[in-house]
Symmetry: C3
Subunit: 354 residues, 3 copies
Amino acid sequence: MINKLFLILVGVGVPLSVAGTLLHWPSVLMFVIYCLTIIALASFMGRATESLAIVLGPRIGGLLNATFGNAVELIISIYSLKAGLIGVVLASLTGSVLGNLLLVAGLSFFIGGTKYKRQTFNVFDARHNAGLLIFAIVVAFVIPEVFSVNMNEQATMSLSIGISVVLILLYLAALFFKLVTHRGVYQPTERLADQNHEEEVPEWSKKTAILVLAAATVAVAYVSEHLVHTFSEVGESFGWSELFIGVIIVAIVGNAAEHASALVMAYKNKMDITVEIAVGSTLQIAMFVAPVLVLISLLFSTSMPLVFTLPELIAMVTAVLLMISISNDGETNWFEGLTLLAAYVIMGIGFYLL
Amino acid sequence: MINKLFLILVGVGVPLSVAGTLLHWPSVLMFVIYCLTIIALASFMGRATESLAIVLGPRIGGLLNATFGNAVELIISIYSLKAGLIGVVLASLTGSVLGNLLLVAGLSFFIGGTKYKRQTFNVFDARHNAGLLIFAIVVAFVIPEVFSVNMNEQATMSLSIGISVVLILLYLAALFFKLVTHRGVYQPTERLADQNHEEEVPEWSKKTAILVLAAATVAVAYVSEHLVHTFSEVGESFGWSELFIGVIIVAIVGNAAEHASALVMAYKNKMDITVEIAVGSTLQIAMFVAPVLVLISLLFSTSMPLVFTLPELIAMVTAVLLMISISNDGETNWFEGLTLLAAYVIMGIGFYLL
Amino acid sequence: MINKLFLILVGVGVPLSVAGTLLHWPSVLMFVIYCLTIIALASFMGRATESLAIVLGPRIGGLLNATFGNAVELIISIYSLKAGLIGVVLASLTGSVLGNLLLVAGLSFFIGGTKYKRQTFNVFDARHNAGLLIFAIVVAFVIPEVFSVNMNEQATMSLSIGISVVLILLYLAALFFKLVTHRGVYQPTERLADQNHEEEVPEWSKKTAILVLAAATVAVAYVSEHLVHTFSEVGESFGWSELFIGVIIVAIVGNAAEHASALVMAYKNKMDITVEIAVGSTLQIAMFVAPVLVLISLLFSTSMPLVFTLPELIAMVTAVLLMISISNDGETNWFEGLTLLAAYVIMGIGFYLL
């Protein structure tokens, strides 16, 4: 049913997106078309990822998903850096962190929770993620904010580069830890047994799934890039500031892919994958996309320090503390989802009024 | 024994309070009379609540208690708002949060811990409360503080109203979660069995208990209101600032009711109720009383934004982090109580010297 | 093998340290000699402590170790206070906290983790320590920072004295709790049984171990004191600021003793002792050494308030949050150690560039 709807949406949306872009249709109209198209494409990405997840196991599937979602953001941000729009890049990084931690996870926990009374996920992963969230956002993002107050521009940039290198190295070490030295070490045995019993049938074969995933990713990237150019006009039409667009709108649309598949997984009670997508994507943004952008910015005329505005930083830090206190027990329910959503609404109002 | 003492104190204190108020006795004398009377009345409230708790179950009992304790504060604060004393209202909200989290819980854990080596309470409730404490105080109180620095007065007020509405809605959702969709879901089965075995006999019948509770609440409200008017003169006599009186004195006296019954419950090793009173009352202050006061203030000439002073905010945030790190395992002992009390003393010294 | 090397290093290092001090050899040369001598002496302290730990039990052993390590720091700091170097004392307190929490624990977890896949320690101790870390650093250190902004110098000093007294009293209460009222209460029974089975043979007798410990401590104190006087010249030679030397260099050398024995214990999979050393030492610095120094400073011409610089405070607070989120489950692995080390590197870069 809904899959057919999305198929139609893609079949109509992609050609309309291309046509509208070439024919310079009005920005607000294109904004709506782009958004709907991305959401439809994202559902294909979600289903393709799910097929792959069944074939390759839930962890690799989740990792794949987060990678594909954030590849789009990385590309958009590089174009923005090239144009010297450092504030917009930092705002959209903030928005991705808030969007994944509060909106994606919140909506997933809420929707999943309306179907299941209690949903559980691997508590070891939750704690592993908590440590990394604290490291990346509470240590690595807060330190340059506080220390740079008494620093000149050059020292601030040196500190940003140093921290970026440390972040990337620790991110690689985390992958090595998860996929090599401690693969399956923290997997509860009863769950492993469970998974063997399931024997789910993937919707698509591995080959088809990869093709669908690749095609949808390219299409999302194309549409996303043009979507960004509608923002300034849409902002004027609706009275939205650049900061609000960067933090809220880019994040919602840019993370639609993760959003869709995290929701699907929550609805299927596969909370391990939902959390892997929401929190894993946040960690990839904070520990990989952000520091890579700092290093890439050195190639351009204006370099980007790892210094957020205070509202951005406090929003991220408090979001991390909320997520950890909610997810630390490896259990979720609809109310915990609603709490995350409520925090997102509060921050949204704040950024809107700023 | 002690119940007789309290009976005498009420029998003497209430008439003296009325007489002293009408005859305008010296403020410092009245201050002492009012305080003792409230403490004695609070013991009746505690016993009435306990009787009701046995009849209605521990959760509803705890909820009842928190409601009655904070009704007093809500009434006092509305009178203060009417008089334009916004600083005093914010200070007494801060004081209630600190008083409940650090003083009430601290003294209860300490006193209970001198009798029992280890006291336990429902760890699911602890985690549920931790999430809400982070949401209400670390997210909903910190965001307007940081964001309002760069906002004009009108935007600050809009943000405060928006956050207040979100807080109240989530508070109602929390009640719905606790009393309807997830009632008893997180209750460990062995404890349920335990409770059935107990078969405690209430001191008073349901009817008598309600009557006692109602009468004591009315008397506490009457005395409390007049107590407030002695503060400025008492402050001058003892050299206390308005902030110190708001944060420390109002909180101790205003929360005497919860204080007394939380202590009684801790001494009886019913830590579920103790925690429900201390933390539940904090949450009611932060998620219901505070936002309702923001909305009510719109009716008066001066509206109150949800923006605390930085010392108030930092005191509340650090108190929340301390409480969570202490209560997160569902166990207490005398030393954990002492730690909370030590934090209260430190903050008390700070507000005294400010 | 390595023990012989350290024996030679001590046999050569101590006479060279004395000779070089008396003959005024170049500072940079003496810096290297002093450092190597201390590290070698520390290995003897570690082995002596280990022998004592076997005889007296792991807890007293760990306590002993932390005491001996911090006695050195206390003596150095008193000399610094006498010379009015308040900034250096606060910086080296910060450095000890960061060094113990991030460097000592990080390296121990990492090295231990390369040998064992998962290492565990008493989860009750971890939670007990977490509460105290939050109390000491997030409450007792943050409150004077925030409150003193609006205070005159005298009120700031009064607040510092009050907090110092509370810290020392709670530290004594913590010892009373651990050694008297709740001794062994939180020890899992299977572990107690384990320990009885082990029957390890100490390297030295109790008498010899105490003699070695005493002699090594005296020698470390002598060398450390002279080491400090080389810092200003070494700083000039290498371009290091006083803050960087205080926070990073003093901490690494001053905590070499704990460092060495924590590592040895981690390698022997005795994580209870490792954590006792790293976190216990941090707590001793924050709850005992720091407040004692504040009180002692009243005897000198310049008194020291308990007010750190903002970078120092934020570094300590974020280090505490990271340590708690990593250690709260009573388990470690190499990646958690690496995360702590990465945080130490980030802060090191920050203090270097400040």
